[in-house]
């Protein structure tokens, strides 16, 4: 039983991880919690659902994923233009990004609700069999795919941010956009790149969540809080920390729910979180830098 629970925990953790990474990219670089991410996921879920349904026979799954990623990119650009660009130009404090993202989260969810209602739309299943068994263990096919995808995305992102020139530019802009301009970096473009990455991740998550949980306006937001928690517990400034924290969160939640109960788990999870931050305030992967006066 413990083994099956572990498998299930890792599966849900993989979904948290996918969201946490999308969240952490923006958080680690722009230093604000992008609450609009959840809304973007929902929007992409809807778009890919209607895309899938527009063709008969439906296009192959990866085409839908690709299409959704492109749409995520478009939505991210749109939000950036309408919401974040001016904040950036005016050099306003980070907190305004956060606020803007909260507002966009509300807006997207409302628009989806008004136009599509709160009923859910079912994505046709992608795989012939939902689950496969190894021994007595049951695996969910989709979860394995999601886990693989999030690991691949993570590795690609970590590589890009730490090893490439554009990654270096991204980090520089995050620290000080003005000084970056003096290095010849077009800081506006770089920030847009960050949002595009987040948008692509939202697009991919949108399809996966849609397939997994159905398509409805709050499908993204309902998962986002967990991604938020994971990305922060994982350690500020660390993408890999986010993925570990997401997996840990999934596992702990699974075991707590099984042995104690779902409602109680929320309470205990909060206690664990508090204790964890108390013991390790820098998060799983973060490092503490002493402030210099």
């Amino acid at each position: 039983m413990a083994l099956q629970l572990t498998i299930n925990g890792i599966s849900i953790g993989a979904i948290y991880a996918l969201i946490a990474v999308g969240f952490a990219v923006v958080f680690n670089i722009m230093r604000f919690s992008n609450f609009a991410h959840g809304g973007m996921i929902s929007a992409c879920a809807f778009i890919s659902f209607f895309f899938q349904r527009a063709f008969d026979p439906p296009p192959p799954f990866f085409v839908t994923v690709l299409f959704s990623a492109v749409c995520g990119m478009g939505i991210a650009l749109l939000i950036d233009t309408l919401g974040y660009r001016r904040i950036r130009l005016k050099n306003s404090p980070k907190i305004y990004y956060f606020l803007m993202s909260l507002t966009f989260a509300i807006l997207i969810e409302q628009i989806l609700t008004v136009f599509f209602g709160t009923d859910i739309y079912g994505f046709p299943s992608v795989f012939k069999s939902q689950t496969f068994e190894i021994g007595s263990m049951i695996f969910k096919t989709m979860n394995i795919v999601i886990l693989a995808v999030s690991v691949v995305i993570l590795v690609a992102l970590v590589w890009m941010i730490n090893k490439t020139k554009i990654g270096l530019a991204i980090r520089a802009v995050a620290i000080n956009a003005d000084t970056s301009r003096l290095m010849g970096i077009n800081s506006s473009v770089i920030v847009t790149v960050i949002f595009i990455i987040a948008g692509v991740l939202a697009g991919v998550s949108g399809v996966f969540l849609g397939v997994q949980y159905g398509v409805f306006p709050s499908v993204g937001p309902s998962m986002m809080l967990k991604g938020f928690i994971a990305s922060i517990i994982g350690g500020l400034g660390s993408l890999s920390g986010a993925i570990f924290a997401a997996l840990a969160l999934g596992l702990i939640e699974m075991f707590l729910t099984f042995f104690i109960g779902a409602t109680e788990a929320t309470v205990i999870l909060f206690g664990i979180m508090l204790a964890f931050l108390f013991i390790r305030p820098q998060g799983i992967m973060g490092i503490i830098v002493e402030d210099k006066a």
């Binding site: 002493e290 402030d291 210099k292 006066a293």
Partner: protein, 257 residues
């Protein structure tokens, strides 16, 4: 009268492999001005950070006003009367110049949260006193005309002055200045020098510790100088001794023109 106010014994601090301060011994008496000089990265600012308890030392002790303060926090030593300025100006941009100075007096403002919330007469009286004190401090530095301005609208030189005014407001026992003349032109530097002398005259019991790279200032003001290099004290003595010390010339001053 020459009471020892601040004293360190074998103070050391390393960052990773870098030894920023090693076995630093220093003492300063009330009413005196001492300087710390040394090449960049010698550990001067680190000494200030250790003294003001922003950093925790690896080894050694600090004695301040007759007490061992090694285990005390930044806040506690600040309240005991150890005041400082920063190498990069750190004014509170959300407050105007006057309020910046008031803040230095606020921690031991006598009125409670309760009387603040209800705006009791006692609070008003205290506020008036705080304001008077802050204003007199600004007047001393000829800053009174800027009282209502936001510090970000002041040029760098004036910002430095506001910092000093703020550090002085609370009648400290020790004032530590980290490169006060950085960014000032020679004219202003000499004004600053006069001004520090004024302070000394006005607060006869104040001990001042200065870090500076501007030799005219250090040599003019200080009666005793420590020279740091790579964490170690390579020389100490009066300005005249230091100026002619070959080690100091080689490591720090270079050939004087």
């Amino acid at each position: 009268m020459t009471e020892q106010i601040l004293k360190t014994h074998n103070l050391s601090k390393a960052f990773g492999g870098v030894c920023a301060v090693k076995d630093f011994n220093m003492e300063i008496n009330a009413g005196r001005i001492r300087g710390i000089i040394g090449p960049n990265g010698a550990g001067k600012t680190t000494i200030f950070n250790l003294l003001s308890r922003i950093y925790k030392e690896d080894e050694g002790t600090i004695e301040f006003a007759g007490q061992d303060v090694t285990s005390k926090s930044q806040i506690e030593v600040a309240r005991m009367g150890l005041s400082r300025t920063f190498q990069n100006t750190r004014l509170f941009v959300g407050l105007n110049v006057l309020d910046n100075v008031k803040v230095a007096l606020d921690h031991d403002g006598k009125y409670s949260l309760f009387s603040a919330l209800f705006k009791l007469p006692f609070r008003n009286k205290q506020e008036r006193m705080i304001k008077e004190k802050a204003m007199s401090c600004l007047e001393l530095l000829n800053l009174d005309e800027f009282a209502k301005l936001s510090p970000s609208n002041l040029s760098y030189g004036y910002q430095r002055r506001v910092e000093i005014a703020r550090a002085l407001a609370n009648d400290p026992k020790v004032l530590m200045l980290d490169e006060p003349a950085a960014g000032l032109n020679p004219e202003e530097t000499s004004m600053l020098m006069d001004f520090i002398k004024d302070i000394q005259a006005k607060y006869p019991n104040l001990a001042i510790l200065v870090i500076e790279h501007r030799m005219e200032l250090i040599m003019n003001l200080c009666d005793h100088i420590y020279v740091q290099d790579s964490g170690l004290t390579i020389a100490e003595g009066t300005p005249a001794e230091i100026q002619s010390n070959p080690k100091v010339l080689a490591a720090y001053l270079g050939e004087e023109e």
